[in-house]
Amino acid sequence: MKDHSLLTVEGLWKSYHGHAVLRGIDLEVRPHEVVCLVGASGSGKSTLLRCVNLLETVDDGAIHLDGRDITDVRVDPDAVRKRMGVVFQAFNLFPHMTVLDNITLAPRKVHGTGRREAEQQALELLERFGLADKAKAYPDRLSGGQQQRVAIIRALAVRPLLMLLDEVTSALDPALVAEVLGVIRELKGSGMTMILTTHEMGFCREIADTVCFLDNGVLLEKAPPEEFFTDPKEPRTRQFLRSVLDARRI
């Protein structure tokens, strides 16, 4: 049996009010692969992640997860979502719950893990990412970087097949970005399959196995990071990279 892909996106279309945001996206993600989506703001990166997580219904095309078509209308979206971990730009922690309760909610209420076991596992994760002393704290007592790390742990706690991370450092002070990137680096080290969108080109180059450039809803170029950043094929890609570089210089 050949090395199958974990996620396959085939000819995916999505529009809002007649405006096509994704136009026939094809994408394959192998197990343990880290795919980085880049592109200008509004190019459709978040929409693609939301479609994969079934938070949006697609207009056309198919998405296969672990060999199964999850866009089939007979599939239960909740059952699909519980096998993926999502991390949002704005953290979206539950403000009325402690860090520990945020992390154990899904293991307990969705996966049926007992409270003891779920808390044990959550504490191990908090320990691993240097947040053990925050277990009983409420989110509003944490810095942005700590909140985002908790959000990543929350997504990780259900042992997902795949993690989707959407601009997870964009809402952070520059000084707090490094601690979150460190967590993602460690996830890659542990073999987690991830799709992430980011504006941090340096980080993208370091962490990605594959970089995908989205331009107006079209997946224009796909290449390993060295090739993508040193020898882009498409003029639009070159233009995008130049604009990012210019922005940094200012």
Partner: protein, 287 residues
Amino acid sequence: MAVRSTPDASGWVKSARQVERERLLRRRSIRSGSIATVSTLLVVVLLVWGVTASPGWERVRETFFDPEQFVRAFPDVLSGFLLNVKIFLIAEPLVLLVGLSVALVRGLRSPVFFPLRALAVAYTDIFRGVPTILVIYLVGFGLPALGLQGMPTDLATLGVIALTLSYGAYVAEVFRAGIDSVHPSQIAAARSLGLGHGGTMRHVVLPQAVRRVVPPLLNDFVSLQKDTALVATIGPLEALRQAQIHAASTFNYTPYLVGALLFILLTIPLARLTDYLAARSQRRRGQ
């Protein structure tokens, strides 16, 4: 004159500037305190003088402020008032239950629930529109007239049903506003973890919504407490009805004053609690 302060644990000694600043602040707060006292006294004196100097004051004093009538009516009105408290204590949890259920039903998306949802919308529209006193009449005289098996005929029970129907509609809207105020990103986060509609509501949306609507809910309860007196119109012997009976036999209105005082005593604690909770949630949001 120098005020010396001793160093605290961190070794901080108040500077002369800070000592002087605190002295001025103390003096200012004493002064504003005395201004408040004087102006309050002045207002009270003017009000009392204005009322007692009016030409009809002698008659009003006799009919509304008769100490002898007060003492005579007090036991009956008080025992009636216990019925008000009972009506309130039974109606309040029922109102919460009806309000929350209706709000949740209105949030159901599946087409299977369309009839239920339509019913919930019709219920809130109707009972928010009809004056509470009319609902009490309709329930109090209409329900027993149907002659259905098992239909309660006890007047206080009918009053509870009417108040629950009327206030349930208001409270449903309060709950719905609270549910709507929870940001959609919270729902997205819950759904992305695999929680379904029910789980998302129960663990993520409702706990946040309920915390936000506690002050407006308490406000509605203050108003429910006094509206228990409207039940008098269909006849059970609660405070207002008892006062009416006394007033009718003596042509003196002091018993109404007794009722009013009892209601004030009941509502003030809840009103203060509401203020306190509202101020606290304001502070929380401010930080």
